[in-house]
Subunit: 459 residues, 2 copies
Amino acid sequence: MNTQITPAALLALSESSQNQTIRSFLSGSHSVEVAETVSSLPVQEAWNVLSLASPSLAAEIFSQFDLPYQVAMMDCLSRRDAVQLISAMAPDDRALLFKRLPAEKRDMVLPALAQAEREDIRALTSYDSDSAGAVMTSDYATLSPGMRVSQAIEHLRHVAPDKETIYYAYVLGSQRMLVGFVSLKDLILASPSARIEEIMHREVISTRVDDDQEEAARTIQKYDLIALPVVNEDGALVGIITHDDAIDIITREHTEDIEKFMAISGSHETGVYLSTPALVHFKNRASWIVGLAALGLVSGVIIHRFEATLSNMIILALYMPMVADTGGNTGSQAATVVVRALALREIRPGDFLKVIFKELKISLLLACILGVLSWGKVMYLSHDTVIPLGVSLSRIGLAIAVALSLQVVTATLTGAILPIAAAKFKLDPAVVASPALTTVVDITGLLIYFMTARLILGV
Amino acid sequence: MNTQITPAALLALSESSQNQTIRSFLSGSHSVEVAETVSSLPVQEAWNVLSLASPSLAAEIFSQFDLPYQVAMMDCLSRRDAVQLISAMAPDDRALLFKRLPAEKRDMVLPALAQAEREDIRALTSYDSDSAGAVMTSDYATLSPGMRVSQAIEHLRHVAPDKETIYYAYVLGSQRMLVGFVSLKDLILASPSARIEEIMHREVISTRVDDDQEEAARTIQKYDLIALPVVNEDGALVGIITHDDAIDIITREHTEDIEKFMAISGSHETGVYLSTPALVHFKNRASWIVGLAALGLVSGVIIHRFEATLSNMIILALYMPMVADTGGNTGSQAATVVVRALALREIRPGDFLKVIFKELKISLLLACILGVLSWGKVMYLSHDTVIPLGVSLSRIGLAIAVALSLQVVTATLTGAILPIAAAKFKLDPAVVASPALTTVVDITGLLIYFMTARLILGV
């Protein structure tokens, strides 16, 4: 960090071939910061800089770039350079890149890799992109049960440079079955002559390779793990997911959740706002918005049904938006709280009745306050609005207030029920949160509004 | 995990005083799972179970309970038990609990603690609850620069049982100044006779004790750290934040963000949905909802201003909700994307113009599609609606479509501008996202709607 340099200065150094200065910049700072500076340059210029580093340092910096930038840079490289770079990358980073490379690039690079690397890439890229397998790495340290502690430490020292973490080492039985683990702390504390099987933890928290990766990340969070072993259906160890992956998975899931809340589709895992073209943003947003507009047809039909009511009593039209908005807001709040509680495992679909009961209480309180407020609003705002003979303003205010209160209760319960129902049917609860919810609640709100008006005002 | 037991079975064991079986359950499973089972019992019964464990195991299990449960249990304990339990807790967990204890409980326990513990609690509880200081622990391992590697490993082995992590050890100069760090991996790989100052990393990524804790968590995420050292204004080491804290901080920030999006106030850091009383849920939700209802007065005034227009041309009233909803949806989408991009540091307030330009392009595309659709909707739904003489339905459809398109562009830009402006003034961008945004956009939408109708239809 003491060798800070701007992208412009770096470009100038590169153009005047001050390779020694560039090399000391590349190796003198943290790879995260070097990558930030280098990736501000166009890919070809960035590669000119990066190619001055040793293959392993180049691969370390390259892995910090975001994926679209990595893919773009691969396009500039000769086959030799590409193969050298990919060979030096960590297995999990390499697999993620491979999934994004165009087929011709993959076909160009794969045959030139060593067989072990080829097989590793094939294995790691074969899993579903939401699964634990898709984010695991094959760079883990293993021990055998019969080793002595001193041998184990010697072994870890030997393999350390190539492993993602040596703080946990996994103990494998026959057929790579995961039978236990030891932490480096355990090894340091144990007697050097003890056998691994005597000191290892036999109850290993692990995840299946086809489990959801968010589930795996939450397990790492729950048990405060540095790494979580991933096993196949036979219980054989196939990879690990490390604590830093868990943070990234949780952050990504959160972005997806919040985008579902706002009806934005499409994968944003590579999405960096500014580098995503406007047309892609448009596509991600349009599908839902257009869908909601189509659903809005139903509201339109309902409103038209009650056209006569509205033209007889124009004051009802004036308060239509208020009822719709309030229903949308209270429903979204309930949905948000319930979706979040489901995500954090605070509630389960089985808690259905408890949730409904609690939301009912909350919504009754909200309904009272908002009902009174809306009655006051009608009395204050509409004191000189034309109303039909034979109906008093306070009676109209009452009808609007009752409708609004009913709508608050209905919308809150709908907001709570939809996500739980979605979870019960193994759908993502966030999808049914607002604005999809808002649109549904609009429809129920209009029906409630006109029915109440009919009952109380006789229109 | 091989000694699974239900809460009911545990209670039965406790009532029949089968202490040996209970002890083997307490020590035989992961403390996270034991804590889940034990905390299903009422606090007094839970304490009867927990008191059978050794003080250190009891403290470990106790620390896994959520805070309200910890506070409730403290209420059942004798002074002696409370002091013993608190002494055995990790400093960061202890400090968090202390902040929640009622004053009389604190005053009862504090004098009975050892002086070092008292001072540690005072130091850790003195920081602002959003700061890095509030989540750090004082259980870190330190080395001095002149130590040999072999001495350092011996030292770490000696202190390991009491430290949160020994995988990073911090090297301190005079006055506890942080001068470097070494990982246990570095130590294992180094020659035993090398001096720490020869192998330590001198560029330490650290955070200030009064920095925001989300910032600290993002630093841990960015650099894939196991722990982040926390220094005071003089550069002296005062604590560390570990990777598992970072995940919890990020998860908590996510929840707060998403609740701000949906206008839910109040602190949820201890909030577990089902154990939070309905009245608290109500309070958290009501303040904003009532505030929004008050803001809705402005929309009400605008609608009343154009009451004559609406009664002359009732068809305009029918499409008022559609324009408001669509504006709210598109505005919320833009706000969501921008708030998220700000949170993930993909954009900065300085990117203002770039963001506006991109959102302008996106909104124009959305405006075209939605404009055409709304025109079709009017033509299809309103073919037999009564309209004043001298105006054609297609002209009314045109006015509605133009108003909707203008509203989509305005709402999208407003949704993008408000969060960036909030960030510029050091406010939280999420607060101005929907539904606050929806309410603002409702007002602009109504103005646009009636102005457009006046211009195109002359009403």
